[in-house]
């Protein structure tokens, strides 16, 4: 293999290679051994299956939304049905897909290995959190089956408490339970990161993936309970009629908004930070370089988490918050945007003087750069007070958050899945297909959501079942894009499943990456490490890796 070939993929000789005889997948057999497992890797797989399921459920809702919006008239479904569609789409996608996406799958799988330990601090709580997630999912499905819920994912009072007769309480219960699942995941991560690092694994030797998860976990632990109590109050207000948010009883509906966004703003960083962690790993690996400005990237994660708690009222600028406090929140919103910019530039400079190859995960990372920058910068539009007046509650918002959530986090998630798939399953997927799907989803994505920015500035309100005819052209473009996007997301499901059986054997370290997880067998042993590793090098130390490989070659060969 010549050093100048355009790929770094380094698979073992397929004729002789086999999967390791003993690994976490075949360690024990039977359904129960999965359902009662304490192994963080198995729980990660359980999570992966369940969030994929819910992603496609949410995706079907998205497809129906887009189909309805193909024409200006309300022709496909009734208004109520449409309202249920986007509510369920939002609830499923946010609480059952995006919040647990990277942390509960990749984070669960990798954090203990990256830290050089055998498991998360509390394996049982980890399992519990998956069951809570399932319970939350079940309640959501129940709400769906018993007639749906049409509050929007934001549950605005007094609409949700007094004016709707759908399954608000069921959905509220679902979110309450799913919230605790997220709290327990975060709690487990924090304890593990503080208390379980292998000898020599100092804070500044940790991979940036772990830093990002640490920051996100803090948000999960401190933010989610506020959502929990808010949702409890909504449920109580609906059922027995207490009057905390009800204006006719003297309550203040804006209080609900404050409490809701106190969680839900930090939640958007729960959704993006783990994705940023993934990007750090990918960019470093495929440019063969240490992440530029490691400390800056690490601290910017923490800064995002910290500042993230101070900006929630930017979702309420026109809702009647005091103008003075709107000023303060707008200013702080500008500050919270800076650390994200820092990260983008640091990743870009990581490429400098690297030796760059373009495998699938790297393509997803590139998609992330472009889409997250657009999404983030449009967030700055919204943070500017006067600008927000025109843009809020229009499709501009919809486009903004899909750019950060789908273009940012979902791309990062897919990048991460493709990156660690060989580690998780021991097998490679067909590169040509995966590259195709990365490109397809990038194109489809832009086609879907770019027109929505224009629609938003034209004034098309969100959550509209029917719209004035002049907006149709752009909506048709968007729907067309969604179809392409759907294909782009369906493809990985197919070839990844295919690869489980037929994929090439990946070997320990197909990407020749430096992370601890790449130094053990793939798929790993149940106990990860046979003996606790001692860490004497920083993360992304390619010289250490080269040295090590050389030694192996000399000892083995």
């Amino acid at each position: 293999m010549s050093t100048t070939s355009s790929t770094i993929i380094n698979l073992p000789d397929q004729r002789t290679a086999t999967l390791p005889k003993r690994n976490y997948l075949n360690n024990e057999h039977g359904l129960l051994s999965w359902l009662l497992t304490g192994d963080h890797k198995r729980i990660a797989i359980l999570y992966l299956i369940s969030i994929t399921f819910f992603f496609f459920i949410g995706g079907v809702f998205a497809g129906l939304i887009r189909l309805e919006l193909l024409t200006p008239q309300p022709d496909l479904m009734a208004s109520d049905t449409y309202n249920k569609m986007f509510s369920m789409h939002g609830i499923v996608m946010i609480f059952l897909f995006l919040v647990p996406s990277v942390p509960a799958t990749l984070g669960n799988f990798l954090i203990p290995i990256m830290l050089g330990t055998r498991d998360l601090a509390f394996p049982k709580i980890n399992l519990l959190s998956w069951y809570l997630y399932l319970a939350g999912g079940t309640f959501t499905l129940a709400a769906l089956i018993f007639g749906g819920v049409d509050t929007g994912w934001t549950f605005t009072t007094p609409l949700s408490t007094h004016y709707l007769n759908t399954n608000v309480v069921t959905a509220a219960t679902a979110i309450f339970i799913a919230g605790f699942s997220s709290i327990f995941t975060g709690l487990n991560f924090i304890v593990t990161i503080h208390r379980m690092r292998a000898p020599g694994m100092t804070w500044f030797r940790m991979p940036l993936f772990v830093w990002a998860h640490y920051a996100a976990s803090v948000l999960m632990v401190l933010g989610t309970p506020v959502l929990a109590i808010t949702i409890v109050l909504v449920a109580l207000e609906r059922t027995i009629g207490i009057g905390v948010f009800d204006p006719t009883k003297g309550g203040d509906p804006l209080l609900f908004q404050h409490l809701f966004w106190f969680y839900s703003h930090p939640a958007v960083y729960i959704m993006i930070l783990p994705g940023m962690g993934v990007i750090s790993e990918i960019v470093s690996t495929f440019s063969r370089k240490r992440v530029f400005g490691y400390t800056a990237v690490a601290f910017s994660s923490v800064a995002i988490a910290l500042f993230g708690f101070f900006v929630w009222a930017h979702h309420m600028f026109i809702m009647g918050v005091s103008n003075y406090s709107a000023l303060v929140f707008s200013l702080l919103t500008m500050l919270v945007a800076v650390p994200s910019a820092i990260k983008i530039f640091n990743w870009a400079f990581t490429l400098q003087k690297g030796s760059i190859t373009f495998e699938t995960p790297m393509l997803y990372a590139f998609a992330f750069f472009g889409l997250f920058t657009i999404g983030g910068m449009t967030g700055v539009f919204l943070g500017a007070l006067g600008m927000d007046i025109h843009l809020t509650e229009t499709y501009f918002i919809v486009a903004h958050f899909h750019y950060v959530m789908v273009g940012g986090m979902l791309m990062a998630f897919l990048g991460g899945i493709h990156f660690w798939w060989p580690k998780m399953t021991g097998r490679m997927y067909p590169e040509s297909f995966s590259k195709l799907s990365a490109v397809t989803s990038f194109i489809g994505f832009n086609l879907t959501f770019m027109p929505q920015f224009i629609l938003g500035y034209l004034g098309m309100p969100r959550r509209y079942h029917a719209y004035p005819a002049e907006y149709q052209v752009l909506n048709v473009l968007s729907t067309a894009g969604a179809t392409v996007l759907g294909v782009g997301f369906l493809l990985p499901l197919l070839y990844l499943t295919w690869s489980l059986r037929y994929g090439a054997i990946a070997g320990n370290n197909p990407w020749q990456a430096t992370g601890l997880e790449w130094q053990i067998q793939s798929p790993p042993l149940t106990e990860n490490f046979i003996e606790t590793p001692i860490v004497d090098h920083e993360a992304y130390d390619y010289e250490w890796l080269a040295h090590k490989t050389q030694q192996e070659v000399t000892t083995v060969g």
Partner: protein, 112 residues
């Protein structure tokens, strides 16, 4: 007893603290202090002190809470990490209160 299981890699770890046993005598004193605090709260509420009434009530409640946290919950003898964790919780709570109040207070200042 903690020595037997001492992990040397923990020595450099600032998150480490020795296990400390609080004696029943200390618990009794705390118990007494809490009872007195309760009594004072009830008595103070019956005296008209104007704005000072809630201040005193909350002051006593906070003192009681701090005593419970320090002794019943052993935070006084815990590692820095635990102390900071407790602090972080109250910090976030204060953020919630002050930032939200900033809205409610300045609403009365009129439109601009």
């Amino acid at each position: 007893m903690s020595d037997a299981y001492h992990d040397p890699s923990n020595v450099t770890n600032p998150e480490h603290a020795d296990h400390h046993i609080v004696t029943p005598l200390q618990y009794c004193m705390v118990f007494g202090a809490l009872l007195i605090g309760t009594l004072v709260t009830v008595l103070a509420a019956d005296i008209d002190l104007g704005v000072l009434n809630p201040v005193i009530a909350l002051g006593i409640a906070c003192t009681k809470a701090v005593i419970v946290i320090l002794f019943f919950m052993h935070v006084k003898y815990q590692s820095k990490l635990i102390k900071m964790t407790v602090g972080a919780g109250f910090f976030t709570f204060i953020v919630l209160i002050t930032m939200t109040l900033s809205d409610y207070m300045s609403r009365a200042w009129g439109l601009w």
